[in-house]
């Protein structure tokens, strides 16, 4: 287990380097002169040169990359071009909002997805099963920003149950979390169902029945534990998808998180902020996937059939 963890860490390192290279390159991949584009079209030559100086674009590329990475390691991601404030503190102020949103949504999608998937699997072929799977398919096929707009339309403006926007109070959490969690719930429900159906025909389930175990325990004790193992990987990927999806959800609900921040920065061509936010989100995803992999391995180690 330890060797696997160490090997997995060594596998993650090139990915981390690749991520930093890609994020660093963002500014250099801009067609044309990045300094000119970032300074704006009406900027004169002097202003463009100032911008170049400020972004360090006149240094050789390897030096620039080194500065970028060493700065990032020390928590220095440069300064915003528009506000002049440190990118790291700007991100810090919004980071936890996005983490909270993604985390609650993940929890919701696991909760709903598991229950729906189990019900669907145990009632295979019934109307309930079809209904759940149809709803799941819709959940999977809906753009989450549109779902958010519809929820606001009916539950905020229509019934007035929840606030239209913002983040913090419990009421404010409900709609964004549903918006972001729906697709994940659908995916987990489908995954759980097929995993359960596979497990339910396993020989050891027959053994449990032959032992006289109650059907309820056959499902919830003997089958579910095994069925959950593949679902764990999906949960990790889901968390990542939710970090990405937060961009849209935060925009719809005007939540002051990292996702909306990065969109605004793209619109204003504030590249240090784009780079910093994208880097932080990607790193978070890499770390979560790493943890999921390790725990999957841990769960799987016991069941590996030689």
């Amino acid at each position: 287990m330890l060797t696997y963890t160490i090997r997995r860490i060594f596998q993650t390192i090139p990915v981390l380097i690749g991520v930093t290279i890609l994020v660093f390159s963002l500014m250099h991949l801009i067609p044309g002169d990045p300094a000119q584009i970032i300074a704006g079209e009406q900027a004169n030559q002097e202003q463009v040169e100032q911008m170049r100086e400020r972004l360090g674009l006149n240094e050789p590329l390897p030096v620039q990359y080194w500065n970028f990475v060493s700065g990032a390691v020390q928590g220095d991601l440069g300064n915003s071009i528009r506000s002049g404030r440190a990118v790291s503190s700007e991100i810090g102020a919004r980071f936890w909002v996005t983490v909270e949103l993604a985390l609650y949504s993940t929890i919701l999608s696991i909760f709903i997805g598991l229950i729906a998937g189990i019900i669907s699997a145990t009632k295979r072929g019934t109307v309930t099963d079809s209904l759940i799977m149809i709803v799941a398919l819709f959940g999977l096929s809906m753009p989450n920003f549109w779902l958010g707009l519809m929820l606001i339309q009916y539950f905020s403006l229509g019934f007035g149950w929840f606030p239209v926007s913002g983040w913090g109070s419990p009421q404010q959490l409900v709609l964004p979390v549903i918006t972001l969690g729906t697709a994940g719930a659908a995916i987990i429900a489908r995954m759980t169902r097929s995993s359960m159906l596979e497990v339910i025909h396993a020989d050891y389930i027959r053994t449990a029945r032959a032992k006289g175990v109650k059907e309820r325990y056959v499902i919830y004790k003997h089958a579910l534990r095994n069925a959950l193992i593949p679902v764990v990987t999906v949960v990790g990927l889901q968390f990542g998808a939710l970090l990405g999806g937060a961009v849209l959800t935060e925009t719809v609900f005007a939540i002051n998180g990292l996702g909306r921040f990065v969109v605004d920065a793209i619109r204003m061509r504030d590249f240090p902020i784009v780079q910093g936010s994208v880097l932080v989100l990607a790193l978070m995803f890499v770390v979560v996937n790493f943890l999921v992999d390790i725990s999957y391995r841990f769960l799987n180690k016991r069941i590996e059939l030689d």
Partner: protein
């Protein structure tokens, strides 16, 4: 073959599967009984319905299968009349079962100890601690070395033979009156096979239970069983005590099976005789005797009408026209002696 006490009597059991293509009769009117403390072997190729028969006795037939008719009298009570809750109290308690695949029959996410202990907790209401202590005794009983350690291990840490011993421990935990063993040694190495069979035999004597052994291997039957039922395509074709069956087999199918056994006592010339063709699938059965298409003796009546299971003078039962007055084939044939000549003539 009468015995004072019969532990289980299966009468005209019919189990069918309902598929898109219609009803498939996997078990079609099977009857047998097992006297207390004895072992019945149910023999047949795969597809003969022997496993479905055993699962029917446990009432573990899953959708789209259904037990359509007949009786399963266990200690005189019909199991088919029991509620699911009543059946649960019988399963793993009075009737237990072990399966062919020890590698996949144990739940990978629970320890060996937990899986044995569960039986005690369900049927005897023991606490977890007490159940685990009894589980340890069971591991010792089935001859697993360093049982204290094994108790805390997961199935993947055990070899196939060890896992089958664990399965036996689970099955015998609550001292069942009847053990159903469905090909318990097929998936194991030859040396392990003998150990497991010996273990089952010894424990049977020690605990005084009856055994229903499902197998395709007549060699196993000869070593362990008191009675034998030979199944073919969902029906019993021959039913006898083990000595009678091996000394004077009646049904051409049984004879074919015996001929295909490798023998150590005599020098065999050439290849083993193998029954040609395949078991018909239950959705595509011949009209007459189900063995007729593969039978070297088959005559007109065999292709036309299904024979009954008739009792002969030596108390054995056979489902074959040759032993009836209606037989229209060559008179005076001896299935046992003439099988080779007939079979080779045909090919």
């Amino acid at each position: 073959m009468e015995s004072p006490k019969t532990i289980i009597k299966v009468d005209n059991l019919q189990t069918s599967f309902y598929t898109d293509k219609g009803e498939v009769k996997a078990v079609d009117g099977v009857s047998f009984e097992i006297p207390s403390g004895k072992t019945l072997g149910i023999v047949g190729e795969s597809g003969s319905g022997k496993s479905i028969t055993s699962l029917s006795v446990m009432r573990l037939i899953q959708d789209p299968g259904k037990i359509k008719g007949g009786q399963i009298l266990f200690n005189g009570e019909n199991l088919l009349d029991k509620s699911e809750a009543q059946m649960r109290r019988i399963r793993g308690n009075q009737i237990s079962m072990i399966f062919q695949e020890p590698m996949t029959s144990l739940n990978p996410v629970f320890t060996v100890g937990d899986q044995i202990a569960e039986a005690y907790m369900i049927h005897e209401g023991k606490s977890k601690k007490e159940a685990l202590r009894k589980a340890l005794d069971m591991l010792k009983l089935v001859g697993i070395p360093s049982p204290e350690q094994r108790l805390k291990q997961y199935p993947h840490e055990l070899s196939g033979g060890m896992r089958q011993r664990v399965m036996i421990a689970i099955a015998l935990a609550c001292n069942p009156e009847l053990l159903i063993a469905d090909e318990p040694t097929t998936a194991l190495d030859v040396t392990i096979q003998a150990q497991i069979l010996r273990l089952i035999n010894n424990l049977q004597e020690e605990l005084g239970m009856s055994v229903m052994l499902i197998t395709h291997d007549l060699g196993v039957v000869a070593e362990t069983c008191d009675y034998v039922a030979v199944m073919y395509a969902g029906k019993v074709v021959e039913y006898a005590d083990v000595e009678t069956l091996f000394e004077s087999p009646k049904h051409p199918y049984t004879v074919g099976l015996l001929k295909s056994l490798p023998r150590h006592d005599i020098d065999q010339e050439g290849e083993l005789e193998v029954i040609k063709g395949m078991v018909p699938t239950p959705d595509n059965l011949p009209k007459g005797c189900r063995f007729a298409p593969r039978c070297p003796f088959a005559s007109d009546i065999c292709a036309d009408r299904l024979p009954e299971l008739d009792e002969l003078e030596d108390n054995s039962q056979v489902r074959c026209w040759i032993y009836t007055d209606e037989w229209d084939g060559k008179s005076g044939v001896s299935v046992k002696d003439d099988y080779g000549t007939f079979a080779s003539k045909e090919s």
